[in-house]
Every structure is written in C-alpha cells, then in structure tokens.
C-alpha cells in the first residue's frame, strides 16, 4: 500500500474569552435597549428556558399562569434593561426579576395564618435504591402536590437560598411560620416520594 493518507490537523482552536462574552452581552443589551426586536428575541431565546424552568418549579400544572409570569418577567427585563448596571451576573439579575414576579403573583394566595408550632421532622432523608431513576417530571409533579405556601417556601429556601427572614419578608409571613412551612413541605414531599419509589 503506497498511497499517502492526508490527515488534516485542526488549524486553530478559537476560545471565546470571558471578556469577549461580556462584550457580546453588552452589545446585545445595548441593542435590546434600542428596541431592536431581533436582539430582544435573541436575549429571550438565551435566557427564557432557564427562567421558564424556574417558573415551572412553582407552577408546574398551571401552564397558562406560568406563561403569564414568563411574559411579565421578560417584559420587565426588556423594559428595564437600562437599569442593569453590569454589576453581577446578568443571569442572576434576570432570575431575581423572575422570582419577584412569581412571588408577587403567589403572595395573593398566601395568607398569614395562625402561628404554627415549629415541627422538626425526624428524618429529612429519602432512602431508596431507585432514587437515580426518578425523572424531572416526576419530581416536578411531586412538588406540585403540596400546598402553595409550602411549595413557595420550599422553592425559595432550597433553590434560591433565601433565609427564613427573607422569605418572611417576601411573602409577608412570620419567620417561624416560614420554618414550619418548610418542614411541612419536606414532610409532605417525603411521603409522596416514598409512594413513588415503592
């Protein structure tokens, strides 16, 4: 076999530096501020899926309300872009707007009831050999089975890392009640998961 084999080596690896990404984001934001519809669509396409995922954790079953909140959130994002100061991650800025929009909607359904006695669950751990097999949809379905207040508190505490004081301020409930709602949420979720995993 006397023929030569040509193997093309990669010529150049282009790596986008952080500054390049930042510059690209700046341009995109500037275009959005100038009301360039294509830029707005691009920004929406980039960030809407994550935002919609966050919203669905709170409102998995209510598709209409989830879309309404997404609409409100991105309307705020696109009309208040000039207020973004490029201090901190842009994703975080959008996420905060989304969370605020969600809690604004849900606050109406959350009523401060009588003080709850703090309940500490005996065990917040789930044990099963099929834990890894559980799907996103199943988990989202489980989380939707618990009451609005418990679900909201659980989401804010676990996913947004808010303290009970912050949760109390956001939802207008007592700090201790926030603790109670969190523990109640864990208790309910554990029961539901055990049913699924059996």
């Amino acid at each position: 076999m006397a023929e030569a084999i040509n193997i093309h080596a990669p010529f150049r690896v282009t790596e986008r530096s952080t500054s390049a990404v930042h510059s690209e984001l700046s341009m995109l934001i500037k275009d959005c501020i100038a009301q360039s519809r294509s830029a707005q669509k691009k920004l929406y396409d980039i960030y809407a899926p994550a935002a919609y995922g966050v919203i669905k954790r709170y409102l998995y079953k209510d598709e209409t309300l989830a879309q309404e909140i997404l609409n409100d959130s991105f309307y705020k994002v696109l009309t208040k872009l000039d207020q973004y100061t490029f201090q901190g991650a842009f994703e975080g800025w959008i996420r905060r707007i989304v969370i605020n929009t969600i809690t604004d909607h849900l606050r109406k359904n959350i009523k401060e009831d009588q003080p709850h006695k703090e309940v500490q669950p005996e065990d917040a751990y789930v044990q099963s050999d099929s834990l890894e097999k559980i799907t996103h949809k199943e988990l989202l379905g489980v989380i939707q089975t618990i009451p609005d207040t418990q679900r909201t508190v659980f989401n804010l505490f676990v996913f947004e890392n808010y303290s009970h004081k912050e949760i109390g301020d956001i939802l207008g409930i007592n700090e201790n009640n926030s603790r109670w709602h969190l523990n109640d949420a864990r208790k309910r979720l554990k029961e539901k998961l055990n049913l699924i995993l059996k």
């Binding site: 100038a34 009301q35 809407a48 994550a50 879309q67 917040a124 050999d129 505490f157």
Partner: protein, 508 residues
Amino acid sequence: MGQHSKHIDNLFKDELGAYAETPPPMAWDALEKRLDKLPPRGAAINPGKALYLVMVTSLLLLSVSVAKKLYVDHMAYLSSDVSTINLPVKGNNPAAGRPVSEAAGTQIADKSIAGSLNNNPDKNQIKNNITDQAIPGNSNSGNKKALQVYKKMTGIKGLKKDAYATTSKSNAQAGGSGNEKELADNQEIHEYNSSRSTGDAEQSLADNKTKDNINDKQKPGPAPDKPKTDNATAKLTGKPKPSKPRFIRFEAGIKAGYETGFNTTTANKLVVSPYVQYNITPKFSIMIQPAIKKGTLQTSSIGKAQNYYKENNDSSISSPVKDPYIVHVPGVGDFNKWDFTYHQSYDSIVKSYSFGGGYTEYELPVLIKYNIAHGISVYGGVNLVYNNYLKVKENTYSSTQQKNDTSQYVLQAIEITTPPSPQLNVNQVLKYTGNEISNYKYPFPPVPASSFRAGYMVGFSYEYQKRWLVDGLMQQTQAPANMQGGYNINSALSSTYFRFTLGYKLIK
C-alpha cells in the same frame, strides 16, 4: 442492591436546580405583541415632558387671557374716545347718557347765571328765584329752568348766545387761555352743581369762591392737566392723539449659561445668547433670542467590532521532516509521518465604531413673553436650530506582520523513502478568523452633512434689580431617526433639554 440515601433538599436541588424548559412559541408571540405597544424609545411621558405639557398649556391659557384683556382694553379705549370727541357736537350723544345739547346747555346756563351775578345789583333776588326753581329738580331741566327764570327776571337777552359763544371760543382755542377758560368754567359749573346738590344753592351762589373763580377767568390760570389737553386736542382734530407709551419699547441684552438633558444620550452644552425684546404693552412682548451652543456628547461605541485580515505575500511551506515515530493505522499498516510547516504573515485589522464628541449648534427662537408678576415673566415659542449631524466615527485597530505557522503532516508507506510533496496548498491550510479586508465596506450609511430642525421653547425669566436676568427654559427639536448599528445617533438632537442662564440687560 444497596439503598441510596439523600437529603430531600439536595435531591430536589440536584435534579431541578438547573432545570430549564423551552417555553412554547406562543409565549414569545404574546410578549412581542406587548412590546409592540411600547412607545418608541424616548417617547414615553417622563417628568420633563409632563412639565412641558403643563407649561405649554399654561402659556396657551395665558395667551388667551392676555388677548382677551387687550381686546377689552382696546374697546374701552375706543368708547372713551367717542364720548370725548362728540361732546361739543350738537345732537344726541348716547355715549354720554344724555343729550349733548342739553349737557352743553347746562354748562351755558350755569355759567351764564354765575357770570352775570357779579354785575347784577339785584342778585340776591335773582338768586332766591333761581334757587326756588332749580333746587327741587337738581337736574339739567332745573338748570334750564333756572336760566329761564334768570332771563325773565333780569331781562338779559343774548346771554345764552354770549355764553355759548364764550364756550365755543374756549373750545376752539385748544390750550392756552381757551383751555384755562374752559377749565375755569368747568370748575365753576361743578362747584355750582355741587353746592346745589347739597341743598344750599343760595349759599353756593353767593359764595365768594365762585366769584373768585369767575374772576380767575381773567387771570392766567394754572397749567391744565394733561388728559384735558389731550381731550381738547381730540375735540379740535376729531381724532385721538396717540398717547405716548409710558414704558420702554425695546430691550436688549445677553445671556449665558448651561444646557443639559436628563438621560445618557444627551449632550452638555455651553450657551451664549444675545436677545432683543420688543414690548408691545408693559406686559406683553416679542423676543428673539438667538444662541450659539457648544455641545459635548459622550463618546459611545455602536455596533459590533468586526475582524478583518490581510494576507502578506510571504507564504512558504517547509521541506518535509520525517517524524522519528512510525504511525500504525489499524487494518491498514505502518506509515512514516512527514511534517510540513506552512508559514504566512498577515495583518489583523479590527474595525469598530463610535459616535459622540463636540459639535456646535445655532438656534433662532422667536418667543412671546408675558409678564405675570413683578419681575417674573414666562415665554414660549418656536425654535429653529441648525447644526452638523453627528457622524459615526470609524476606528481601526491594525496589528501587522502576525505569524501564522501551522503544521501539516502526510503519512506515507514506510517502504517509500522519498519525501512526499505537500498535499495541500497554503490557502487550504492557513485559515483566518474574520473576513478579508477587501470585503470591508463601511457598514453605516452616509448621513446628511447638516440640517435645520424646528422645535419649541418654553421658559421663565426673573428680573433682578432691573438689569440682571435669571432664565430657566426647556426646549426640544425634532430630528429624523438615524439608526446606526441599532442605535439612533440622533437621539441627542431630539432629546428634551433644560437650560439655565444668567443675563444682563444692555439696553433698557
């Protein structure tokens, strides 16, 4: 099978923490419809615009009220002229509210009576008779009656004629002794009527003051009041003499200050503006206030930077170098690896764009000004502005003689000892990011070199010590949108600006 244990928080966080779901397409459609309803950028009502609306509305209302007042004053002025001019004319004078002949007759009769008293020895008798006849009515008819009684008792004939002649003479002589006489006559008649109205006609007729007044007719009297002179002139000519204005018609001065807007796209300007003001009335004036403004606009990048390259004519391919290791390709066999190095230098060119910097603006506003209180005026009007359009500046960053050395190898059967030739040429091996510089075209369309723009200007002025002026105003002109790189570079020209100036009156 061992059981896994996981805290419930971590279970959800790990699985759903980064959960993302693409929203349905209708979600964007709904958002886009909502965004379509947004006003164009900068068109939303902001505090500045609200202030502008308030000021324009106020100015409009003010103008209407001023126009109305001017109209009313003008009509009143015309009415007063008619009554003054027609007074000596025989016939009915509705403006005077009574027949002119009767009014004139009253003067004649009163004056005749009073004038003849000095010469009549039996004046007490006459006075009594007159008083008896005249007092009850205390009216013009009473005066007539008094005259008739007096004539009957004294037998004086032609008195009315003489008296009338005297009055006519005084009317015919505008100013001088005629005026003095008329003044004295009027004074006498007034005093006579006044005394009659008190119910003591006998005393008033006998009053020495009346006599003195009558005697004063022979003496040079005091200078008559200005309005009476005007009236007399008007009576002579039949036309009102234009009254001399009691305020300054022309004012002029110079103002200097600073102008700025309240958003990031506006320029900061230094302003110098002379002004000329013509006062139509003490409160109402027209002002021309041309200005030269030196603006500075913050430099901003627009559009995306573009990368280009330019290949230099120094490309080369090195001689093949055999790699010491044999390459084994499974199922095919063993090969020698021959390395080639491709070389070329190039220029890296980055094009970016910005706009901003300094520019000069000229404006010529024509303003209507109204004095609303002592020293405080408001004004508003149209504004014509000229300036050079802001241009997009092209920035070029060029880095020359960059090396592009890339290796390429060829596998050749080990039994062949002759070095292989390179299988690919330079253009196939050496690649560049961006575009060849020959493809570069200036990405932004050319814009007009200059333009006139029209707009509005509203403001207020405070006058201090008759000389110093403190002005605050708001103005805006419309400039056509000039989208460059997704950015309207003319937004600085069409933004709302606020100006603060200090001025000094040079002519007042």
